[in-house]
């Protein structure tokens, strides 16, 4: 029976930002600064978004810790880390604007660790040529989100917390609103706006072993896809090399790359420092080839090259996976990561939450013994396709930024490049929304039939007499994705994965949420399944299409990068028949002024020749 929409509360703002992580808050602050009336909607309480978990730091070529650094090096590192599949312009903007975004945070109250000169200190991280990550111990995400939260509170934002978005509304192709429900009461609410910015994060909860929180179900990707937005690079899912592996209940929880940045060393069960065996050709000239050289670099010798533990994440994750597979894994199936040689005081100062995490959850004292670590699903490089400068999607009025958007990280993201991404492109999305609203100042109409369709879908799991248990279905999906769409992929496994997903779709349509609509986790679990399935399918199909191994996407049956595939990004959208349509999109010519920098040697860049 159709609901009488006039009985549902309606809240109107100029712009709605969906998501209160770093990207959402930065976008909202920008909207307010531009004079827009801005509402922020988020699933959890303010300050609890995924961003709060970020540990290691935010990458920006401030040049504080090493004077030689500048945007060109950061840009080159980002392009190379991404295996040249990211969007040139986004990588350029990111590298150029990140330093200002970090300084701005400081002016808003963030307190980063300092250099001896009293400037913002920077640490080393995988794939970054120079120490580049502004950080606060190993709780940088907390610093970032709290700073933005406190700034936002005084910027005139309206924050609607514990409010979950279910679907987007459109008016003549342009977005017009969002249907949501309040977690506390289960009541529906409709937000109307002239522009909507998605900052909803990733979808790691489709995998068994993951560093991601319950919020990471890919809602934004699903809602955008439903109204015709394109998804891009979905096959590139980052497995972080170092998640906890023991005890089982904490498997997947992240061990920051900061451990390796501070000198952590990886060894296998034979005590061998195995990363020296896995240095890719492209990085060989820039990587130490002996333990002695790696040690000299750690001691601050500028002329020595970086230890192989600091190679990009895709490389290190595959190496650990391989060591375990070949029988040289640690006791519980990982690798040993040791930082104890840095001494207790240093570790407690630089990595305090890692110290506590291991002490309290695994009874391991990392100042004395090694940690056991292994790959964990961590980050979605792919997501909603956006315009480089404005962050607008192909759906007018709909913007996306942060982890839910695609383009900056290509085939592999460098550590620390996400937090800076949130700030740079969060701000740009706010500016983009302002520009769009200036050109389209009218409030679009509310389509009641569309709203009713979303409401019916949302109410169904509660209304059904009986059906499957959403928690159990979610578990099954996670196991299937880890088994078939994991760190190594092949044709057969991917096909099997897609089949499981297709079978599940019918079962999800029959899922039952017990209890009332008030603060009911099984209801939200039931509704999340559609988003998880959509993202899972897009990843599996993209991975099946891309017949090569590049960055985070590794095919056993197509090893190595194929030049041909370097010319395309894979784009997915809802076809006219309602089925998922998938195509290769030509990247076009490399912009010569940027390609020159990205493909230069370090010597050329350091000499200022480029």
């Amino acid at each position: 029976m159709p609901t009488d929409i006039s009985e549902i509360d309606t809240i109107t703002h100029d712009v709605i930002v969906l998501g209160a992580g770093g990207a959402g808050l930065r976008a909202a602050i920008e909207c307010s600064r531009q004079g827009l009336d801005c509402g922020v909607v988020c699933k959890s309480l303010l300050g609890k978004a995924h961003t709060v978990m970020a540990e290691g730091g935010a990458a920006a070529a401030l040049g504080n810790a090493d004077k030689r650094d500048n945007w060109k090096f950061h840009f080159r590192d980002t392009m190379r880390g991404a295996k040249f599949l990211n969007q040139w312009r986004m990588a350029e903007l990111h590298a150029k604007e990140a330093p200002d975004r970090i300084r701005e945070l400081e002016a808003w109250g963030a307190v980063f660790d300092r250099t001896k000169e009293g400037l913002i200190n920077q640490r080393n991280f995988g794939g970054h040529r120079y120490p580049r990550l502004a950080h606060v111990g190993d709780r940088t995400g907390l610093e970032l989100i709290r700073t933005l939260q406190d700034k936002g509170v005084h910027s005139g934002l309206s924050v609607h917390m514990e409010c979950t978005a279910l679907g987007l509304l459109t008016d003549g192709g342009r977005v017009s609103g969002l249907v949501c429900y309040w977690r506390e009461t289960g009541r529906f609410v409709i937000f109307r706006a002239k522009a909507i910015i998605f900052a909803t994060g990733g979808f790691g909860k489709a995998w068994r072993i993951t560093s991601n929180s319950w919020e990471y179900t890919g809602d934004g990707q699903r809602m955008a896809y439903d109204v015709g937005a394109e998804l891009m690079d979905m096959e590139f899912t980052q497995f972080h090399p170092t998640g906890m592996v023991w005890p089982p209940s904490v498997a997947g929880i992240l061990v920051t790359e900061g451990v390796r940045g501070e000198g952590g060393v990886l060894r296998n069960s034979e005590g061998k420092r195995f990363m020296f065996e896995y240095i890719p050709e492209r990085f060989a000239p820039e990587t130490a080839d002996s333990e002695e050289e790696a040690q000299r670099w750690l001691d601050g010798d500028d002329s020595s090259r970086r230890p192989p533990e600091l190679l990009t994440r895709d490389v290190v994750a595959r190496a650990i996976y391989n060591e375990v597979k070949e029988g040289r894994g640690s006791k519980h199936g990982g690798a040993y990561l040791n930082i104890s040689h840095r001494g207790e005081a240093y570790i407690k100062k630089k990595l305090p939450s890692m110290y506590h995490q291991f002490k309290e959850l695994a009874e391991v004292d990392i100042t004395k013994e090694p940690m056991e670590v292994g790959p964990t699903f961590h980050y979605a490089m792919g997501g909603i396709r956006v315009d480089h400068d404005s962050q607008m999607t192909n759906v007018p009025g709909l913007f996306a930024c942060g982890e839910c958007a695609a383009g900056l990280h290509g085939a592999n993201r460098l550590g620390g490049n996400s937090l800076s991404d949130l700030l740079v492109f969060g701000r740009r999305a706010g500016l983009g929304a302002k520009e769009f609203i200036d050109a389209n100042p009218d409030l679009p109409a509310l389509d009641e039939a569309q709203a009713n369709k979303i409401l019916d879908w949302a109410k169904a799991p509660l209304m059904r007499e009986s059906g499957e248990n959403p928690y159990v279905l979610h578990d099954e999906l996670r196991d299937a994705m880890t088994a078939h769409v994991g760190i190594w992929r092949d044709e057969e496994g991917l096909a099997a994965g897609i089949e499981v997903i297709e079978q599940m779709r019918a079962r999800v349509a029959n899922v039952k949420a017990h209890g009332s609509s008030q603060y009911n986790p099984s209801w939200s679990e039931a509704l999340d399944l559609d988003s998880l399935l959509l993202c899972a399918e897009a990843v599996a199909r993209g991975a099946k299409m891309r017949q090569e191994s590049r960055g985070a996407h590794s095919r056993v049956d197509f090893q190595g990068e194929r030049e041909e595939w370097g010319k395309y990004n894979i784009v997915i959208k809802k076809g006219d028949d309602g089925q998922m349509s998938i195509e290769r999109v030509d990247r076009g010519e490399d912009p010569p002024h940027l390609a020159k920098i990205a493909r230069a040697t370090l010597e050329q860049l350091e000499a200022g020749d480029v």
Binding site: M53, R103, V111, E117, I120, S353, L361, P521
Partner: protein, 251 residues
Amino acid sequence: MSRQRTLRVWRGDGSSGQFEEYTCDVDEGMVVLDLIHQVQKHHAPDLACRWNCKAGKCGSCSMEINGKPKLSCMTRLSDYEEGAVIQVQPLKTFPIIKDLATDVSWNFRQNERITPFTPPQLPEDGDYRMQQVDVDRVQEFRKCIECFLCQDTCHILRDHEKKEGFVGPRFMIRVAQLEMHPLDTVDRIPATRDEYGSGMCNITRCCTEVCPEHINITDNGIIPMKERVVDRFYDPVTIVLRRVFGWGKRA
């Protein structure tokens, strides 16, 4: 560890409720939050409980476990005697929404009362400068994950009558953090006494004991703030000097 564990959970809303027991299989290394998830999956799918990071970083999963305010994601089952029932209930200081979820919005309103950080003009070269030693204390306070366990345990806030007069330990350290920030230019001492209610704290240190971030809330935060208030308002010599020489707040 035994393969099964019994959890006693408070079920109900703001008006009524009772404890209910559920028994589930458990695995090595599990925390209380894992057990709650087992209960949701196998027995009570609509059991309300907040959580996000499951790693002690977000401060969402606060509750009272066997009467003590704790993060359920950082409390291991092995901390409790084998075979003993573990009892969980919502934070007592805040109104119950449902089961383990409470309405903590009061805290967000306290934060809004605090004047935002206000730095001086940026130096010519575009960089503020601060020495690490000068920000160590500030960083200690900024570790706060807003779990509100300290707020829950503070007897002043538990006594609802007094709640409007005191922002509570969490926001006392937020003010202390701003006050001790080398760049902040706002005089926060009058508001600390008059609006945030520093005088109400009688230094029982219960807040410090429950802080999962091991922030020394009382000794490093509240006591120094109380001293600054006393210096300013009750020491005639300081007051006279300040008038005569126009001393700044950190004189």
